[in-house]
Amino acid sequence: MTAPVVETRDLSKHYGPTVGLDGLELVVERGEVLGFLGPNGAGKTTTIRLLLDLIRPTRGEARLFGRAARDPDVRRSVGYLPGELALDGRLTARKMLAFLDRLRDPRDPPADPRRRDALCERLRLSDADLDRVLRDDSRGTKQKVGLVAAFQRDPELLVLDEPTEGLDPLVREAVLELMREAGAAGRTVFHSSHVISEVDRTATRVAIVRAGRLVAVEEIDALRRSLTRRMTVRFAGDRAPVAELDVPGTRLLEQSGPSVVLAVTGDLDPLLAVLARHAVAHLAFPEPVLDDAFLQHYADAQRAGADPS
């Protein structure tokens, strides 16, 4: 049995009295695209910096590919894009990419130049962009260079901290596509973001952190299923059959004549059975999005945090 690509046990980081991360227990298996969600200051970047051994844990441990994160060998298979990307402004993008590639282990072959060229093309990095010194480049161009640097060696694990920051919509799409492809090709992607809609489109699982603590880790589909969703129904008659709508998993939120707004959780069958017995003029039941899950979990966690018991 192969070891998880990322594994943390009681991983904690305190900065004096401030808690950066507290008791993180997380396992990411090979081929997963994990969305690591949380607002700024929740502990996402602290987690990533602990995984890459840039900072040392106060308690607990982080393991990559079954080995301690401190082992530099584990980083042979890691491609990383920092949230606050800094590149050497005195180098051209082309030289920067070549320099970063030279920092590989001597046992590893150099990055495939065809792959690099293909990445540049997909991310719309022109030759002119590549041959300009980085200090003259825009934020978006630097971000693209950082993305090429992360992907160019086709690493087993991609750790991407806010990868679409500063990119235009077309390139953003290309980045999300690259992440999906990496996951499909068996690579593991650790996608840290506060842009929930993007994680929704790439991740197979999400982990939600708040104030340094893990609030939830769930499959995206399961998370969607567990959500309380709003359904708006307008019946064909004068009044809605309110009494009949009192079925398991359904709660009446509003009623106005033939129209009702319902909160629905879990299995839809009982409610659909009721609706099937009546003439329905209009029904709106929007697809659940991760934002709802995030906000719901966040609200739950906040309530739990406020509750002294």
Binding site: L52, A86, F99, L103
Partner: protein, 265 residues
């Protein structure tokens, strides 16, 4: 891997290194020409006699003997040479702090680069500077001596101990700078601290030579162990000083590596 890191630093510093090396070469050649002029002219003693006592004490603190070899060796302790070489060394030593400052360090250390190898690149830059700059002075000395004909002049090899002592002093500056750079949060802060300490220790050394009452402070400044003129004139009298300076280079260097390996970056 180390070569890639070092190569990047050297590429950024190449014009400074070349300019400084050339400047030191010319400086030493010029000092030898001046020394010859004094030797053949009315004599430095007559000029010095005109100086106020206080100034004369300061000059004598730097140049204990007014002979041609002593003047020729002065280039190895010329403030310009010391400041220029130290500045380049501080730039190498604080480069990791600068990378941490800018955020580039995160990207570099996300590769299979150990922290030791990363700092080693800076140490190699320091070693190159501490070796190359005294060699440039020595080359200027050899060239200058070949162009002048002074009775009683020493061969250029007699100045090798002076160059060696300068290399040891620069290594000590490098070791201390590396330690400050490895522990600092910001590059600017590190450079300012290093400059302040070097300036204070240099002034203390000069004052202890002028004021006997401050003699007890001498041991605390690396410049006390750096006397290229005596090392040139008195054969074999410089090994102890070189050993102290090398010790002052090695100990903080080891501490710097220990700190860099264990700290949060």
């Amino acid at each position: 891997m180390i070569l890639a890191l070092l190569g990047r630093q050297l590429r950024h510093m190449r014009w400074i290194l070349v300019g400084l090396g050339l400047g030191l070469f010319l400086l030493e050649g010029l000092i030898i020409q001046l020394a010859k002029a004094f030797e053949g002219g009315p004599g430095i003693e007559q000029i010095l006699d005109m100086l106020p006592d206080m100034i004369l004490d300061l000059v004598k603190a730097q140049i204990p003997a007014f002979t041609f070899p002593a003047f020729a060796a002065f280039g190895f302790m010329h403030p310009g040479a010391l400041v220029g070489s130290s500045a380049v060394i501080v730039m190498f030593a604080t480069a990791p702090a600068g990378e941490r400052d800018s955020g580039l360090l995160d990207l570099l250390l996300s590769r299979p680069v150990t922290r030791t190898k990363h700092l080693l690149a800076s140490l190699l830059g320091i070693v190159i500077t501490a070796t190359a700059m005294p060699l440039c002075l020595l080359a200027g000395c050899a060239t200058g001596l070949a162009l002048v004909d002074v009775p009683g002049e020493l061969p250029w090899t007699a100045y090798v101990p002076a160059a060696g002592l300068l290399a040891c002093l620069l290594a000590a500056v490098g070791g201390f700078s590396l330690l400050v750079g490895a522990t600092a949060q910001r590059r600017g802060t590190a450079a300012a601290r290093i400059a302040a300490v070097l300036l204070v220790t240099y002034v203390v050394d000069t004052l202890t030579k002028v004021f006997g009452s401050l003699d007890a402070l001498r041991w605390a400044t690396p410049f006390h162990y750096f006397d290229p003129i005596t090392a040139t004139i008195d054969e074999g009298g410089h090994w102890g000083d070189a050993a102290v300076l090398l010790g002052a280079a090695v100990v903080p260097t080891l501490l710097a590596f220990r700190c860099w390996r264990t700290r949060d970056l």
